[in-house]
């Protein structure tokens, strides 16, 4: 009964979303206030239905209802509770439902926090998102219904993919989807603006916090995914340029360009076409990512079970949404173009340069991701594009971004003088080069790439500190400095921190693959690892070999690490559980490999890694997200709301 309620509420949601979409768009064009007034309650009803449906599926998982095909395929009675709940989004159908719930949650949030927006804007934004929801609801109901029943009920489920049985599954996909789907919000604002034919500073001010919020979720989601891959896959890598990773990274790159372009649109009324275009591209890339992951056109470690029917549907959906919005853009963009001059040396210029670089980087990553598909479609053969392409294309585009970032935050709007900028920045540049070139000497062998990266890191961090120092000195009251100013610098420092991690790991990591018997030791980067024993342990739904490895430095045992090799009952594919000792400046990482048969005494293959500063990669991402949160929380976005509240309470605003 419960699964049928879930199914039924999806069907109801389809009709609510249809009504919301059509009434909102038509009502907006014809200026019907009564129709527009339906937008907020409509969005709330849609959210309630989606949430109900989601709860029904969760219930089916929790109660091991294997009559539901999706549950039977992705759960098992021995699966621990927490994974039984997270298993809801462990497969294609359920993750689509999660997608929908996230979309509706963003709509719910807009319906609640939009008092300062005119009704026509709110109703158009919610209508556009409602139409997107229609597409996803149809997709689910036609090709991927999570509530389908089985006629003969299996005694037990097939179990969740062991790779996914990890705390990472609980947090990573919801966060990532939140960001993915969040790109729909600036997209909807842009489409609404094109429909309105009005795109001004006020529009940019409304859109900015939403775009930033989506960007924050995407940042956290991607970095969690990277961290998950790092400790779960057992190969010590933290980014593989896999098509699915790229699918999440592309909207992030474009989203980063978008939030900066929005800043210019708000402050100076410029780059309007850019802003609109970036928000359309950002969401299109989210959809494209969905297509790539679920249609099976590319090979990837993440790919879901594929079905050509699904691919055709998403492609059609993509054509309607992206094609439609690009056509609307072509028809209307003439109206939103606006003049406003800025000189060659100005903040606008530097932000534009960086936006072009970020977009180019996104295009390069997209090309690399789709290249195998294009080559195949042209019958030129089969090939795969690996990390060497991405690394060699991506780094040369990102290093200048780091350089111009500082100029962008230093230069004045509209017009600045190169001489004056030079005077301000020269000491900073000299100190950065000196520090950047000498720091690698402390870490290990000197290489120009490490030196260059670290120079840019110092360049960003020192400039942020200098700017903050000047700002504090110049302002009478430090509380008057808007919180978004701190947010910007924090996010920029986050980039620097992340780059430190990437640079140090790339430059100085050490890895050893060894054969170890009990009592054997191996030394990596000054640490000695001693295998003292291997025991068999039984988990709830797996058996494991657990190694006990002593981590020794200077003759002192720091701690023991316990890497495992697990065999889940449901699949014979062995899984590595790594053991990591982590601190602020390095990780040491042990993974237990195969038991080796040859030789008299038992031995195991072990992989041991020393990864300097690796946690900084994710720490930097968190700083970026935190900085983004501070920027999104700036008071000016809530000003009108506050003022109206003050008035209603009879206090002079």
């Amino acid at each position: 009964m419960i699964p049928e309620i879930g199914h039924f509420s999806l069907i109801l949601a389809l009709f609510v979303a249809l009504a919301l979409g059509t009434l909102g768009v038509i009502g907006g064009q014809q200026g019907r206030a009564d129709w527009m007034a339906l937008a907020r309650p409509g969005a709330q009803a849609l959210w309630a239905l989606a949430a109900l449906s989601f709860c029904c599926l969760t219930y089916a998982f929790y109660t091991n209802d294997f009559s539901v095909s999706y549950v039977a395929q992705h759960s098992n009675s021995k699966l621990p509770d927490i994974y039984r709940i997270a298993g809801v989004w462990g497969g294609h159908e359920g993750s689509l439902l999660l997608w929908l719930v996230m979309l509706c949650s963003w709509m719910m949030a807009i319906s609640l926090f939009s008092r300062q927006l005119p009704d026509v804007m709110v109703s158009r934004v919610l209508a556009v998102m409602g139409l997107v929801a229609v597409g996803f609801l149809l997709f689910m109901l036609i090709t991927s219904n999570p509530f389908l029943r089985l006629s003969d009920i299996p005694p037990d489920g097939r179990d969740l993919n062991p790779l996914l049985q990890d705390p990472g599954l609980v947090f990573h996909p919801p966060m990532l989807y939140m960001g993915y789907v969040g790109m729909a919000v600036p997209f909807a604002f842009s489409i609404a603006a094109l429909l309105n034919g009005r795109l001004d500073a006020a529009w940019a001010r409304w859109t900015r916090p939403w775009a930033t919020a989506a960007w924050i979720c995407l940042t956290i989601g991607i970095s969690m995914g990277s961290w998950w891959a790092y400790y779960e896959l057992g190969w010590g890598g933290w980014w593989f340029w896999d098509p699915v990773e790229n699918a999440s990274f592309l909207p992030w790159l474009v989203g980063t360009a978008l939030i900066h372009s929005l800043a210019v649109t708000e402050k100076r009324g410029l780059f309007r076409s850019w802003t609109i275009m970036l928000s359309i591209i950002g969401f299109s890339l989210s959809l494209l990512g969905t297509f790539l992951v679920r249609s099976g056109v590319l090979t990837s470690v993440h790919a879901f079970a594929t079905d050509p029917k699904r691919g055709v549907f998403i492609l059609l959906f993509l054509v309607v949404v992206v094609g439609g919005s690009l056509a609307l853009f072509a028809a209307r963009s003439g109206k939103v173009r606006a003049g406003g001059a800025f000189s060659l040396v100005s903040r606008e210029t530097f932000l534009l340069i960086n936006n072009v670089l970020l977009t180019t980087a996104a295009a390069a990553v997209l090309l690399g991701t789709l290249y195998p598909l294009i080559v195949d479609a042209l019958n030129l053969g089969k090939l795969s594009v690996g990390p060497p392409y991405f690394n060699s294309v991506f780094a040369p585009l990102m290093l200048p971004v780091m350089f111009f970032m500082v100029l962008g935050s230093y230069a004045r709007w509209k017009n600045d003088s190169l001489a004056e900028l030079g005077k301000k920045l020269r000491p900073l540049a000299i100190v950065s080069v000196l520090l950047g070139c000498s720091a690698p000497l402390l870490a290990g062998p000197w290489s120009w790439l490490v030196a260059l990266s670290l120079t840019l890191v110092f360049w960003i961090v020192l400039s942020s500190f200098q700017q903050i120092y000047r700002q504090l000195k110049d302002s009478v009251n430090w509380k008057a400095i808007p919180i978004s100013y701190w947010g910007m610098h924090l996010a920029h420092i986050g980039i620097a921190v992340c780059v430190v991690g990437i640079t140090m790991v790339k430059g100085y990591e050490t890895e050893k693959d060894v054969r170890m018997g009990i009592g054997d030791t191996v030394e990596v980067a000054g640490y000695t690892f001693k295998l003292t024993g291997i025991s068999e342990v039984a988990g709830p739904n797996y058996n494991a070999d657990r190694g006990v490895v002593e981590l020794i430095k200077n003759g002192k045992v720091l701690r023991t690490l316990e890497p495992e090799k697990r065999t889940y009952f449901s699949s014979t594919m062995p899984m590595t559980e790594t053991a990591i000792d982590s601190n602020l400046v390095r990780d040491v990482y042990v993974a237990l490999g195969e038991r080796l048969q040859d030789g008299a005494s038992p031995a195991w293959a072990m992989r041991v890694y020393h990864k300097p500063f690796v946690t900084w990669i994710w720490g930097g991402c968190l700083l970026m997200a935190l900085g983004g949160a501070m920027a999104a929380l700036d008071r000016r976005y809530r000003r009108k709301a506050l003022a109206s509240k003050a008035l209603s309470q009879g206090v002079p605003a």
Partner: protein
């Protein structure tokens, strides 16, 4: 309407065409002209014992699996535990081709991770690989009693491929 604003739409249209063509293909499948044909003849020194030569003909009368691997190949490490399990079942002989690899590296790799192969041969210059139309390592060929290639696995042998394709085919071929 200005013309320039149509450019993104044009780019998108081209992209859609490629995606649509992509939908009709399976990226995992590289058609091998060799399926149903006799395996190319080869003779090569054995990895562990270079004085001894091994020839594909030695296996006539047996169903066997020919697997290309290399110590530098990351995907081979992914495939490796599955081959180890498979070798333990002693279903059919597994012959490895150490493809474009240094012998010492290959031997070290086997010592480190374990050796699932009944024997391995060396193919330092990749000649045998070329004859077999190897695109990338790992690739595996299932060869029947008459020396005819019956199945080609591109990329790592997965649990699913083993269960759903290779094992049923072996049972059929062994009849």
């Amino acid at each position: 309407m200005n013309r320039k604003a149509l450019i993104p739409l044009g780019i998108f249209a081209v992209l859609v065409v490629f995606l649509a063509i992509g939908l009709t293909r399976d990226p995992h499948e590289i058609p091998s002209p060799l399926i149903g044909k006799p395996a190319p003849a080869f003779t090569a020194p054995r990895l562990q014992n270079p004085q001894q030569q091994f020839s594909g003909k030695d296996m006539l009368g047996k169903v066997w699996l020919l697997n290309t691997w290399a110590s530098w190949c990351v995907a081979c490490r992914q495939e490796h535990p599955i081959l180890m399990e498979f070798a333990k079942t002693k279903t059919i002989p597994v012959v490895g081709i150490d493809y474009k690899d240094k012998d010492t590296e290959g031997l070290k790799w086997l010592a480190r991770y374990g050796d699932p192969y009944d024997l391995s041969i060396t193919d330092q210059d990749g000649r045998i690989g070329i004859d077999f139309g190897v695109y990338g390592v790992p690739e595996s060929f299932l060869i029947d009693k008459q020396g005819i290639i019956r199945y080609k696995q591109i990329g790592p042998v997965t649990q699913e491929a083993l269960r759903d394709k290779i094992l049923p085919l072996i049972r059929e071929l062994q009849k």
